[in-house]
């Protein structure tokens, strides 16, 4: 088992959607020039749509890998909202990350149907296997472990979403196979 170092934040890139960029948004209070350009472009493109803020935040997270503190000001300015309002929306929704995830995101369903089929024990196994708790990233930056509350796969419990791929009837053994395969691929 690996030692858990929760005091160290991952310094690896955000999900590397554009390998040419420097991703330091987890730590930074300011945006890199390319990121600022991207945020301004997203705001300009979407601001005229009805009720655009959630769409803008989704687009930012899809592009930067997270919604860092530093986007609050340009988004607020673009939409003529207060920073408090934008901050309030970002922090209301579980989906928006303030810091980037690891290279692989492992979301384990912890809702009732999955609990009836051993989701709590599976989560315990995943914590041991990855050496991190929920909402944490492994020190090597490879895996982020998250709870999720229902993936709609309740007839095939327990369920998990790993890098956007849904898994059903998951067992600890199968979990280890998937993690080993992902670790090899990155």
């Amino acid at each position: 088992m690996r030692l858990v170092r929760t005091d160290i934040r991952p310094t690896v890139p955000c999900k590397p959607r554009d390998p040419g960029w420097t991703y330091t948004c987890c730590l930074m209070k300011t945006l890199a020039a390319t990121q600022e350009t991207a945020v301004k472009r997203i705001v300009a493109e979407l601001k005229h749509r009805p009720g655009p803020l959630l769409e803008i935040l989704h687009a930012i997270q899809d592009t930067l890998g997270c919604v860092p503190e530093a986007v609050v000001a340009p988004v607020a300015e673009g939409l003529n909202l207060s920073r408090a309002e934008v901050h309030g929306v970002i922090t209301f929704y579980h989906h928006f990350r303030r810091a980037p995830a690891g290279a692989h995101t492992v979301s384990l369903c912890q809702a009732e149907a999955c609990r009836s089929m051993g989701a709590v024990a599976l989560a315990e196994h995943a914590r041991r296997r990855l050496g991190v708790d929920f909402h944490q990233t492994t020190p090597d930056g490879r895996f982020t472990l998250e709870p999720i509350y229902c993936l709609g796969n309740c007839a095939c419990s327990p369920a998990a979403m790993i890098d956007g791929r849904l898994h059903g009837r998951l067992t600890p053994e199968r979990f280890d196979e998937i993690i080993a395969a992902q670790a090899k691929s990155s």
Binding site: G51, V89, H95, C109, E112, R115, S116, G152, C154, C156
Partner: protein, 515 residues
């Protein structure tokens, strides 16, 4: 040329359907056999997924559950002609699990190609819209009223009354919104429908828009459903392409535009006013009613808010008549309900039947008992806000009124089974924990009460002042039920209260193994 169906449904994919589809395509290529591979929705019998179907002159023949390793042997056995094999189940329609079902809303799910408007029309799609376009709006609303259709999202409010309010509201911009924030554990009917027959939802929303004079529709979809997101976007693009959405719906001169908006992982946004706040780009905090959304909804305009299943049922009602729909069901629960069997159940999946069958029939005749083979101790119906029903009450009929009479609720029709290893004090704690996690924070009973609930249950489990704390927990539940602004805080105590009522021994004994 043979036609083979392999589901693209997220649940089937979670069991390896994509790998099976690839293996079938590769094996057919190796054998130089021409093959049309259609990625359909799931038929809903997840014990057989991935369920591969082959078209034969007698009908579709089913094979399942298929793994990629089975594929060469299936070809060897002649499965393209529907020949026998250890995984063969004969004609899909004749499998007992499907045969007794009454699929109206789910009539095409698992059968139709979800991406094809042409196939949708071949399977009876858009007949409802054609009928609706020949009627005036008030007549369409009257038909929905007459059908007895009630909101399938959980609240069971008569759909026709909502529509009539929006229809009668003064003109100007009106909206049709679909609540596809299916966050209740144990429910997946919305997801299956959006992936398996998205055009029926699109048609239902179009009919709603034309009936009440709304030109814009939004589907508010939860972010946890990426497969449904892709399926909806594909189907919406196809409907625009075919002229069934846009400025001139089916050549009628009527406009209806539709788009999908993604939620962002907030359970509370399944509450209708919270969903409207979220659609407007704000924190999903509930609104105080009145005004009702039907009067003052999205962007302050008259708005229909209906669940996926409600809207997807509308085309059937228009195509076959309100009376035909109302002929199904019992008492005030008219029509059919897509019921979802989930959790610790051997044959989980989707069963659509008229209201009124018993819970026992669902759990044992369809469900086949628990997956673990142990006795089913309890089921939770209607999601995380629904009560736990003990085994002694499994003869209750599944309809709104009968469940309400025993202090339970039907909600969205999801049933989660638990075997006798479940620790109900842990499940009660989880109910409070989930409410604390998902509370929007606007009202105190929900925001503070849920956190106090977790603390009190922890004290009980630690053996600290058990009797006094049990009494306190009951009072706390009562306060939340009476004092909360919406259903989250107002109903989160239901599972706790039912656990206390039927499984009080679990709150005293030292905790069993965690569930």
């Amino acid at each position: 040329m043979s036609t083979v169906y392999v589901p693209r449904d997220a649940g089937a994919q979670s069991l390896g359907a994509d790998e099976v589809a690839r293996a079938i395509a590769a094996e057919a290529k190796r054998r130089a056999l021409p093959l049309t591979l259609v990625r359909n929705g799931s038929r809903g019998h997840y014990a057989l997924e991935p369920l591969v179907e082959v078209v034969t002159p007698a009908g579709r023949v089913a094979y399942g559950p298929v793994t990629p390793a089975d594929v060469p042997a299936l070809f060897e056995a002649g499965f393209l002609e529907g020949q026998a094999h250890a995984l063969a189940h004969g004609l899909t329609e004749e499998i007992p699990w499907f045969k007794g079902q009454q699929r109206l809303t789910f009539a095409r799910v698992g059968i139709v190609d979800p991406a094809s408007v042409a196939d949708y029309i071949r399977q009876g799609g858009y007949a409802g819209l054609t009928r609706a376009l020949a009627m005036d709006g008030a007549a369409v609303v009257a038909a929905i009223l007459e059908s007895g259709l009630r909101g399938r999202g959980g609240a069971a409010f008569p759909t026709g009354i909502k529509w009539k309010t929006v229809h009668d509201a003064p003109g100007g911009q009106k909206y049709v919104t679909c609540n596809a924030d299916e966050g209740d554990s144990g429910t997946f009917a919305d997801r299956m429908l959006m992936e398996g027959d998205p055009l029926s939802l699109i048609e239902g929303m179009t009919i709603a828009g034309i009936a009440v004079g709304a030109t814009q529709g939004y589907i508010y979809l939860r972010a946890e459903y990426p497969h449904a997101h892709r399926a909806l976007n594909t189907a919406i693009a196809a409907a625009y392409q075919a002229g069934y959405l846009g400025a001139d719906v089916a050549g009628s001169g009527r406009r209806f535009e539709l788009e999908v908006r993604l939620g962002a992982g907030a359970y509370i946004c399944g509450e209708e006013t919270s969903m409207l706040e979220s659609l407007e780009g704000r924190r999903g905090e509930v609104r105080v009613r009145p005004p009702l959304p039907a009067i003052k909804g999205l962007f302050g305009r008259p708005t229909i808010v209906n669940n996926v299943i409600t809207l997807a049922t509308v085309p059937w009602i228009l195509a076959h008549g309100a009376k035909a729909y109302a002929d199904y069901g019992t008492g005030k629960s008219r029509g059919t309900l897509p019921i979802q069997l989930a959790g610790n159940i051997k044959n989980g999946g989707l069963v659509e039947r008229a209201f009124g069958l018993s819970l026992r029939e669902l759990l044992y005749d369809y469900g086949g008992g628990s997956a673990t083979g142990r006795p089913i101790r309890t089921v939770q119906i209607g999601g995380p806000l629904g009560a736990y029903v003990p085994a002694s009450q499994f003869d209750v009929a599944v309809d709104y009124e009968a469940l309400s009479a025993i202090g339970a609720l039907l909600g969205h029709g999801g049933i989660v089974a638990f075997d006798d290893t479940v620790d109900m004090a842990r499940m009660a704690r989880y109910a409070m924990e989930f409410c604390a996690l998902e509370s929007c924070g606007k009202c105190t009973p929900c925001r503070i009460g849920s956190t106090r609930g977790v603390e009190v249950i922890d004290q009980i489990l630690a053996g600290i002042e058990g009797e006094r704390n049990l009494h306190l927990l009951e009072e706390l539940c009562e306060t939340m039920v009476q004092g909360s602004l919406c259903g989250l805080g107002g109903m989160a105590p239901f599972p706790v209260q039912s656990a206390l009522k039927y499984f009080r021994e679990d709150f005293r004994a030292p905790p069993k193994q965690a569930q």
